[in-house]
């Protein structure tokens, strides 16, 4: 995306410096450094188990880092109190790999839940308007009364995105948005991610190992290998890298 050359001069909306994370004896992230700028879609590419999901879970305070400075919207995440962290989380939307829709609630209740729990004085009319607006944005207005178990994988992802959009986030974190979906649904989700970026003016981190998703949705791509970012840049720059590991990752994906 052309605007990248100009936005990199601005203050980053997400800034990660010297991040380390390990689980027991397993070192997952080693000296991670990354800046994401306002309005930018950053794709984090990497193999399964390389720590991509861990990275975005650290950004919302779901996991604590071992070491490093993580700043999101100007807040140092691991130094926030519970209330401050909640206030920050309201400004971040998180789409889980499994969509994580609440099984015991229908689509409408899934969407209403974050609103009613966080905005005490909201009226029924305002809730209805917000629900209809986000369902319209993801193109699933007719599924309002259905249970999550009645939805397809792609529809669940869309409702998951709608549930995050209802709180009007400034940042979107997508964890494998196209995992387990057929190519046509993948394309729809990729388009939706771009539409969300434009309509809601969000900055995003998209975790994936799907190269088509990376190419379509990403303004920049960061290649995570062996717990480190080995290359950060536009898709073509990373794609044309001389690094053997990057080459083999891309070649393998295209063969697949």
């Amino acid at each position: 995306m052309e605007k990248n050359d100009t936005i990199t001069n601005a203050e980053p909306i997400i800034s990660i410096k010297g991040l380390y994370k390990s689980f027991g004896e397993l070192d997952i992230l080693k000296d991670i450094n990354l800046d994401v700028y306002k309005g930018e879609n950053m794709v984090v590419l990497g193999r399964s188990g390389s720590g991509k999901s861990v990275l975005i879970k650290i950004l919302v305070g779901l996991l604590p880092p071992d070491k490093g400075i993580i700043k999101v919207l100007g807040n140092e995440v691991n130094k926030l109190s519970g209330k401050e962290l909640d206030a920050l989380r309201l400004r971040i939307g998180f789409l889980f790999q499994s969509s994580a829709l609440y099984d015991s609630m229908n689509v409408r209740q899934n969407l209403e839940f974050p609103l009613t729990m966080n905005k005490k004085n909201i009226t029924k009319q305002e809730i209805n308007t917000a629900v209809e607006e986000v369902l319209d944005a993801v193109g699933l207005k007719d599924k309002m009364e259905q249970m999550p178990s009645d939805l397809s994988g792609g529809q669940r992802k869309r409702i998951g995105i709608a549930r995050t959009l209802i709180l009007k986030p400034e940042i979107m974190l997508y964890d494998e948005p196209t995992a387990g979906l057929d190519p046509i649904t993948c394309e729809e989700i990729n388009k939706l991610i771009r539409e969300v970026q434009k309509k809601y003016n969000t900055s995003s981190i998209i975790i994936t190992h799907d190269l088509t998703c990376a190419k379509i949705t990403g303004d920049r791509v960061a290649m995570l290998l062996d717990g480190k970012f080995v290359k950060v840049g536009k898709f073509d720059e990373v794609f044309e890298s001389d690094n053997e590991e990057i080459k083999s990752f891309f070649n393998y994906n295209f063969i697949q």
Partner: protein, 264 residues
Amino acid sequence: MINSRPRKYLFTKGLDQYFTDVYKAYKFVIRFFKEAFHPPFHLREIINQCYEIGVKSLPLITLTGFITGIVFTKQSRPSLSEFGATSWLPSLISIAIVRALGALVTALICAGKVGSSIGAELGSMKVTEQIEAMEVSAINPFKYLVTTRVLACTITIPILGLYCGFVALMGSYFSVYTNESTSIVSFFHNGFSTITFLDVFSSVIKSIVFGFTIGIIGCYKGYNAVHGTLGVGRAANQAVVLAMFLVFIEEVTIVQIANWIRYY
């Protein structure tokens, strides 16, 4: 730079794990008390859980209580009739039901039905990232899921225990009535003449403790479920087994305390 390091144990791997689990459970219980007395209280969810736990358990409690009353009466009658003491039957049955059976039978049924259901529900929410989804939406999942369920168990299980006792006495009366034409007033008058305030009070206290135990164990096991669907089944199973085990331990302890108060 963080490198791979050999894991060091304070005692052995198993003992370390045991003490870690006990400490985690202790922290879980302490967190419950902290969260339970601070707003928001999610009253609607507590009422909803009371309905799920209480009202939906009524048919099973009714059937089990009634059968317990009948069976206990039928089993006691021959022994008492050997001594010509069948007139003591209502008193004996009332003491057994009010002091022990009502609360205990209810607790065991609820440990199976409610404990496993809470363990499985929270376990599946944990492994499908629904609990994390609440956290990232700035919703406190512990307060919304755990506190409400434990409070609902603590409120409804004593009520179910009293109801079970009443139904069991009705079952007992039914059994007595099929053998001799005793009036219901006479049966209950005879039965309650030996019941003291301490009997009812200790039974209610016991039920409250049982309710809390079933709720907190179910929530603890579900909330800490790991390893996917296997973990969900394991959480439900462990919730039942551990809750039943603790219910028996608590029964023995509270009976000892009640007897100590009664006789000293």
